[in-house]
Every structure is written in C-alpha cells, then in structure tokens.
C-alpha cells in the first residue's frame, strides 16, 4: 500500500470523526441534520475503500437517503412548535464529565483490542468460500443474506413490518398542507422517476453476481416514492391493499421456508439445484414490500390532507 492511497484514507477517516463530533455539538439541530446526511454519504465512500460495495450501496441509499429524509421531515414537524435547537448541547457538568471519562476508557479499550488482534485471522471467509458453489449465486453477501443467514433476513423483514405497525399506531404525523409543486420540481420528478425504477430493477438483478440486492433496490425505489410524495403529497392509508403488499415479502419468504420443510428439507435450507431461482423470487417479493414499507415510514398514517388531527 503506497503513501498516496493512505492520504485519501486519512482525510476520509478524519473527516468522519470530525463530522460525528460537530453534529453532536452544534447548537442548531438543522445544521446537525445536514451534517448527519453528509456523514452518511462519506461513510459510503469509506465502505468503498474497505472493499464493501454492497454496504456502500445500502449506506448511500438507506443510511444517507431514506434516514436523511425521515429526519428532515421530523425536524419540520418539531419546528412548528418552537425553535428546534439548544443553546449548549453538550456542556460539561459533573455527571457528563464522569460519562465522558467512562466513554474514553471504552474507546481506549476498543483501540487496544483492534491493535492487538492477530494479523493472520481470516474470520469466516474460508468457510463462506467453501459453501459458495452450493448457494445458487456468485455474490457472497447475497448468498449470506438469503441463504446462509436466512433466519436473520426473514426476521429483519418482520422488524420492518413491526416498524410500520408502530408508526401507524402512533399516528403522529398529520400531513402538512399540500403546497403546489412548481414546474421545475415537476420536471425533476418526471425525469428522475424512470431512472430510479430502472436502477432499482438493475440492482435487484445484479445482486446475484455483483454488488446490489433487494434492500438496495428497495431503497432506491422508495426514494422515488418519497420524491413523488414531496412533490405531490399522496396518501398511503392503513388499508387492506397496502397491508397486503407490505406483508407480501415476508409471506413469500416464510412460504418458501415452510414448503421446503414439508418437502423433507429443513426450514429455509435452500436446495442446491433451485437456490438461484428461489433467491431471486424471495428478493423480488421482498423488494416490493420493503420499498412500500420505507415510503409508509416516511408518509405516516395521514388520512386527511388539511393537516387536521386524524386520531
């Protein structure tokens, strides 16, 4: 590794730490949110440098994009009830000083454990490489998510559904008044939606052999939905169809697992011959559900365009 690449890594890592510090200490929460979004984009550059392009895609789309839009939306709702900032967010008093010292101790311990790891340790990469031919796909991250660690991903989709249930139950977000979209915004939405759908489909298809997959594709698709909602607010009410689509991905995944179990295999243990097509099926269903889930998390449970309380 030559010195030139190290310059980039040092600048990037330093910038990440600086952003984390500033976004927690700036008194204006709006600027903190801006820095949070910047932090997400730069973090995806760090994933690229660490040879984790799948994670980079997810971070850019979910960590920076969808989360950023969610926080901005919440900030507006808080703003309506007085200034959303603090004079001195992290001023040191005695309890905080003790906390800071403890956290610094934790940091020193982590640093020591990182530096003292044996250099030749290979983790689970050899085991994964040995199991890859039986997984049905070429991308080891997709194989791990959908095949080796199927349980985790199934429950992850369940967590997404639970979050939607929580947001619907809290009913916290009366929709803001629909502002007319200007002509330029209309042009932007019309021009960006088709590439977003194409890129989402491409990421889903590419997931088998290259970086990409259901979650990244879903986030790009959801970004399209959120963009549309920002320009022309629409309503995704808690209705039968919406619930059906949100549950679809989980249902398909569960059904595949149960069918395999009844056919004599074990739950979620994909047979070698059909693993590729099963993974694509599960991922397609999951992408549609997850995309709608993200949009619903953003839109909330607003039934009423006038901004009145709907509870």
């Amino acid at each position: 590794m030559s010195g030139d690449t190290l310059v980039l890594d040092l600048v990037l890592a330093g910038l990440l730490v600086f952003l984390a510090w500033r976004l927690l200490t700036l008194s204006d929460l709006f600027k903190a949110t801006v820095l949070f979004i910047v932090f997400g984009v730069l973090l995806s550059l760090a994933w690229v440098r660490l040879n984790a392009p799948d994670v980079a895609l997810a971070e850019a789309a979910i960590g920076a994009g969808v989360t950023g839009a969610l926080v901005l939306d919440a900030l507006r709702r808080l703003d309506a009830r007085g200034p959303a900032d603090e004079a001195q967010p992290l001023r040191l008093n005695l309890p905080r000083l003790v906390g800071a010292l403890l956290v610094m101790g934790l940091g020193a311990f982590l640093l020591w454990s990182v530096l003292s790891l044996p250099p030749g340790w290979r983790g689970l990469s050899s085991e994964t490489a040995a199991a890859m031919p039986r997984s049905g796909v070429v991308n080891p991250v997709t194989a791990s998510l959908l095949n080796f660690r199927g349980y985790d991903t199934l429950l992850e989709i369940a967590v997404l559904m639970l979050a939607v249930l929580g947001v619907w139950t809290l009913n916290a977000e009366p929709m803001p008044p629909a502002e007319p979209a200007g002509p330029i915004l209309d042009v932007l939405v019309k021009a960006l939606l088709p590439p977003m759908v194409v890129v989402a489909g491409y990421l889903l298809w590419a997931g088998g052999h290259a970086p990409g997959g259901a979650f990244q594709g879903a986030a790009v698709l959801a970004a399209g939905g959120i963009l549309l909602h920002l320009a022309r607010p629409f309503n995704v009410a808690n209705r039968g169809v919406v619930r059906l689509v949100i549950g679809f991905g989980f249902a398909v995944f569960l059904l595949v697992g149960l069918t395999l179990a009844t056919l004599g295999g074990r739950f979620l243990e994909l047979p070698e011959r059909h693993a590729g097509i099963l993974i694509l099926m599960i991922e397609t269903a999951a992408m549609i559900s997850i995309a709608l889930t993200f949009v619903v998390l953003f839109v909330g449970n607003a039934r009423d365009n006038a901004g009145r309380d709907t509870s």
């Binding site: 932007l188 021009a191 960006l192």
Partner: protein, 104 residues
Amino acid sequence: MGPSEWLSMVMVSVGVFFFIAGSVGLIRLPDVLTRLHALTKADNVGLGFIVLGLSLQAGSLLELMKLLLLWPLALLASSCACYLVAEATLLQSRRGPGARRHVR
C-alpha cells in the same frame, strides 16, 4: 503511457481544479445566490471533465454507457436543486428579514 492516458489525466486534473474553484467560491462569495451559482456551475463542469477523462479509460461498453448516463442525470438533478434552493431564498427574502417562518 499512451496519449489517451495523458489526455484523461489532463481532463481529470481540470475537473478537480473546477471542484476546488467551486469550494473556494462557496467560501469567498458574499451572498447565497452567488454562492449557489459558483457551487452548481463549477461542480457540474468539474464532474463533466472527470466523467470525460474516465470514459476514455472505460473497460467495457456497459461501463461507458453508465458513465455517460451519469453526467446528464447529475446535471439535471443539481440544476433543478439549485433552482429550488434559489426560489426558496427569494421567497424568504421577499417576506422581509424579520419575518418568522411559520408552518401551519
């Protein structure tokens, strides 16, 4: 190194120069609209030069197509975003400096 590599290195350097110019403009210029102008114009030109320089080195047709699709998308997105931010700034200033933004 062949001439195409030299050419792409020159183009990438010009692109990076525009990026730096854009950031200097963002810091030095006196008001929001001029800063917006500096940022959007310089960054778009800079990205264009970098895309051109790298497309000379593209390994496959698919990669070349993706690169050439990327720049118009970035142009469109950032010029529309620039317009929207400028419009918001004008709306804000027309209401007067003391006017509190309120959300109904």
